[in-house]
């Protein structure tokens, strides 16, 4: 027995994770766990948590859970970033060791892309898309909950790696053969592959769900060309997900099999070809960066029109350009490995195809600017992000074009020039876009605005901090500094620029602190939104009270114009005053279910067991998976009814019923 316990301790906490940082994190995590449990028990909130959140299938609540997860992950990824930057500012006295640094940049990249950007997108989709298209829910509410829990447990699996067993350390790209057991023993990379496989399943389901939602659930009259731009980007992004995630799944599974079951896909021996992994990974990875940026483009299209108080400029061109981006982004993946010798013909082809993407993207940029032209621009926080996004993203895109210039990429590949490029587009494009959307839709989610003054402070800290951090990194690239080095020799002139960069990172960190303070402050003191339409919006979600009732629309609106709500307001036919009590009938809504949560949990157990190759635990988890699936196969009790009287009462309490 004691030997078993010792074995357990050695496996779960090998000596290289018994370091002060990890132990501190362990302590913090356990403490916060204890506090949460204590609070829930004291307030008798367990039942509430289970009934209202863990088993919910309401897209609005799922959206909020995604949002909370994303902000937590932004914190985790951000703290990782600060650790990276601190080390790089102190090359002579590294604060964290090489092996810690390697784990930290890996989790930083992985978390930021898969567990911060993706869920933030899904948060906005869930919160806004059904409301914008005049629907009562997404196409498959239960699948939606499953997606969320698969994502959440996938994220949990990656995050516990930090404290149990050791984190992955091969970068977010996880190139073999370094990920093979020969070079990388221990559970770290297993965590990586399994958590991404589990979360990836959830993401694929979300893609299916929102594609069908946008295609089949629109309110009467909302033809494709009357959809808000955000919905268009949802549609195209969802389609991109369907095409992009399968190659990732295959690449991850192959790597995992190499590690656990002795196959020879990417090994040094037996004819394995690591480059095939690289090929499959970027077959996913390149579309992925557009998966994260297209929704941000969608947010900007809504935000810019609303705060310029003017119709979106060049709507058809915008639609055409997102479609073009969607198609083109599948044909460019080789630009991530121009330096793998696939030959001049291949490289030239993919260099050209990459450059082509600049054209539709440019169209969007100019259309946004011309949406503002002739408008009345209100500089709200959301709009500030939009305005800062344009130059930031254009510069990031331009440096992308430099990287796409094949011979130039031979020099710039994997240098800090590249690091600067992708933060420029990821932060300037994705993060700014999603934060803009969060500020924009916050009242719709929570019924109150975020404080504008604090919001602007956070914005300026982010924006200035961003340039201070990543501007110097372009120069570091030209000085030949390559990425993923935990420290560097002094003689290359890299030190000064790194110090500046680190200062910038802390400025951004300050921005994050202000943002979180803003959230907490506004919870209490934020301006309440009683109209449901705080920004004088243009699309249907603003026709509803904030937050929207469970059934969204008491009566489904009929759409006749592109900016449906704006149009209705112009014509004086707002839902608020046209709803009569006869219009309301009893509604059938999806019913809460514990299956998604249990399914996610079961997959988590499988993943955890596989990470340590404990097959009994895997079997237990697998039984859970099968049981959940069987249960839902035979479950015909999917719906509940909301009585018409209940709805009438709700609506008249909101002052939305005639008479």
């Amino acid at each position: 027995m004691p030997s078993f316990v010792l074995y357990l301790i050695h496996t779960l906490f090998p000596h290289d994770v018994r370091r002060p940082t990890e132990l501190g994190a362990d302590f913090l995590i356990i403490m916060s766990g204890v506090i949460i449990v204590y609070y829930l028990t004291k307030q008798k909130k367990w039942r509430y948590l289970w009934d209202e959140w863990l088993t919910t299938v309401d897209h609005k609540k799922i959206g909020i859970m995604y949002l909370i997860a994303a902000i937590a992950m932004l914190f985790r990824g951000g703290v990782d970033a600060l650790m990276l930057r601190t080390n790089l500012a102190l090359p002579t006295t590294p604060v964290i060791s090489a092996s810690e640094y390697n784990e930290v940049f890996t989790t930083h990249g992985t978390i930021m892309i898969f567990f911060m950007a993706m869920p933030l997108i899904f948060a906005l989709w869930n919160v806004a898309v059904p409301l914008m298209i005049g629907a009562r829910d997404v196409a498959f509410p239960r699948l939606n909950a499953m997606s969320f829990w698969l994502f959440a447990f996938g994220a949990l699996l990656l995050n516990i790696s930090f404290v149990i067993g050791g984190s992955p350390n091969a970068g977010w790209t996880a190139y073999p053969p370094y990920t093979g057991v020969a070079f990388n023993p221990g559970p770290g990379e297993n965590y990586f592959f399994l958590s991404l496989l589990i979360a990836g399943m959830g993401t694929t389901m979300t893609g299916i769900n929102f594609l069908v939602t946008t295609l089949r659930m629109r309110a009467p009259g909302m033809t494709l060309m009357k959809m808000p731009m955000f919905v268009w980007t949802t549609l195209t992004t969802a389609a991109l997900i369907l095409f992009a995630f399968p190659p990732l799944t295959v690449a991850l599974a192959m790597s995992l099999f190499d590690r656990l079951f002795g196959s020879s896909f990417f090994t040094l021996t037996h004819g394995g070809m690591p480059m095939m992994y690289v090929n499959l990974f970027w077959l996913f990875g390149h579309p992925e960066v557009y998966i994260v940026v297209l929704p941000a483009f969608g947010v900007f299209s809504e935000v810019v029109a609303t705060y310029s108080r003017k119709a979106l400029f060049g709507y058809s061109a915008m639609v055409l350009s997102v479609l073009a981006i969607m198609f083109l982004s599948y044909g460019t993946w080789v630009h991530h490995f121009f330096t793998m010798g696939a030959g001049p013909a291949v490289n030239a082809f993919f260099g050209l195809s990459t450059m082509l993407i600049a054209i539709p993207t440019g169209v969007k940029i100019f259309n946004w600017i011309f949406t503002m032209w002739g408008g009345r621009i209100q500089l709200t926080t959301a709009m500030l992000y939009q305005i800062a996004f344009i130059p930031t993203f254009v510069i990031g895109g331009a440096t992308g074009i430099l990287l796409a210039t094949v011979p130039a990429d031979y020099q710039l590949h994997n240098t800090y020039f590249l690091v600067a490029h992708f933060h420029n587009v990821l932060i300037g494009g994705v993060l700014f876009g999603l934060l803009s959307g969060t500020y924009y839709w916050w009242p719709k989610m929570f019924g109150h605005k975020l404080d504008e003054r604090q919001g602007k402070w956070a914005f300026w800290l982010y924006f200035i901090g961003f340039w201070v951090t990543f501007g110097p990194q372009y120069l570091l690239g030209l000085e030949g500094m390559t990425r993923r080095m935990y420290t560097y020799p002094l003689g290359f002139g890299w030190h000064e620029l790194n110090v500046i960069s680190t200062v910038g990172a802390f400025i951004m960190g300050a921005g994050f602190v202000v943002m979180v303070y803003n959230v907490l402050y506004s919870l209490k003191y934020g301006e309440r939104d009683l109209t449901g339409d705080p920004w004088d919006g243009r699309t249907l979600e603003w026709a509803l009270p904030s937050p929207a009732p469970e059934y969204n629309f008491a009566r489904i609106p009929v759409v006749t114009a592109r900016d449906a709500w704006w149009d209705m307001k112009q014509k004086g036919q707002t839902l608020a005053n046209s709803l009569s009590s006869h219009d309301i009938s009893t509604l059938e809504m999806p019913k809460n279910t514990p299956v998604p949560f249990l399914l996610g949990l079961s997959f988590f157990v499988v993943g955890f067991g596989m990470t340590f190759e404990w097959w009994i635990i895997v079997a237990i988890g697998a039984i859970g998976v099968v049981a959940s699936l069987l249960y839902s196969a035979f479950d015909y009790d999917e719906h509940k009814h909301i009585n018409a009287d209940v709805i009438r009462r709700t609506e008249s309490a909101l002052g939305r019923l005639q008479g």
Partner: protein, 206 residues
């Protein structure tokens, strides 16, 4: 149950599985799922194509494959694709007995396919051709194995359907489920045709 459906569609007496809008949306959703599956198999096929010649010290495709069991498997699967088609045909004609009977036949044929394939694999492994041997074998086993796993899953799925059909008869839900299952099954048949052609037949071309 009142279902708002466009006039012209009402007149065309929709089959049950499409009659209910919500169930019909699920069929669209299932097509989208098939899209992801096409991409999964696409990735596996491209790996196989690339790894085909990386035989290391292991056997080559030519040495490994023999036609006998493969032809048997192909015929079994093609026939099962036919019988599930008949099952749907019977379902459209509201013939519960025939629907169930054809579904059972389909399941049996599918089971035959899986048994034959597993037998095949066991033979390879016994002869030392494990997927550790070479990248080619890894790619072969993962491609064909993924297909086999899909078929196995399909059999389990259809078994639950069988129970639901017997217990509940034709409802919008059961018919929709059976219809999506048939889509899945035909899809697997198509994948197999490509495996048959690109893996087995191609392996015999020198």
């Amino acid at each position: 149950m009142s279902v708002p459906v466009a006039k012209e569609e009402m007149e065309q007496h929709l089959p049950l599985e499409f009659a209910d809008e919500k169930e019909s949306i699920k069929i669209t959703g299932f097509w989208m799922f098939l899209v992801t599956d096409v991409m999964i198999f696409g990735s596996l096929f491209s790996s196989y194509a690339v790894y085909r010649t990386s035989v290391a010290q292991g056997p080559s495709a030519y040495q490994l494959f023999s036609f006998g069991p493969v032809i048997l498997e192909t015929v079994l699967l093609l026939t099962s694709s036919f019988t599930i088609g008949l099952s749907i045909y019977s379902m459209r004609r509201q013939n519960k007995q025939a629907t169930i009977a054809w579904l059972i036949v389909t399941l049996l044929l599918g089971a035959g396919f899986v048994i034959s394939e597993v037998h095949d694999f066991v033979g390879y492994v016994a002869a030392g051709a494990t997927w550790h041997q070479s990248a080619f074998l890894s790619a072969f086993f993962i491609l064909v194995g993924t297909h086999g796993a899909h078929v196995t899953f399909g059999i389990l799925w259809a078994t639950t359907l069988l129970i639901q059909l017997i217990r509940r008869g034709f409802t919008p839900v059961t018919t929709r489920k059976l219809f999506t299952f048939s889509l899945y099954w035909h899809f697997l048949d198509i994948v197999w045709i490509f495996i048959f052609t690109f893996v087995y037949l191609n392996g015999k071309i020198v």
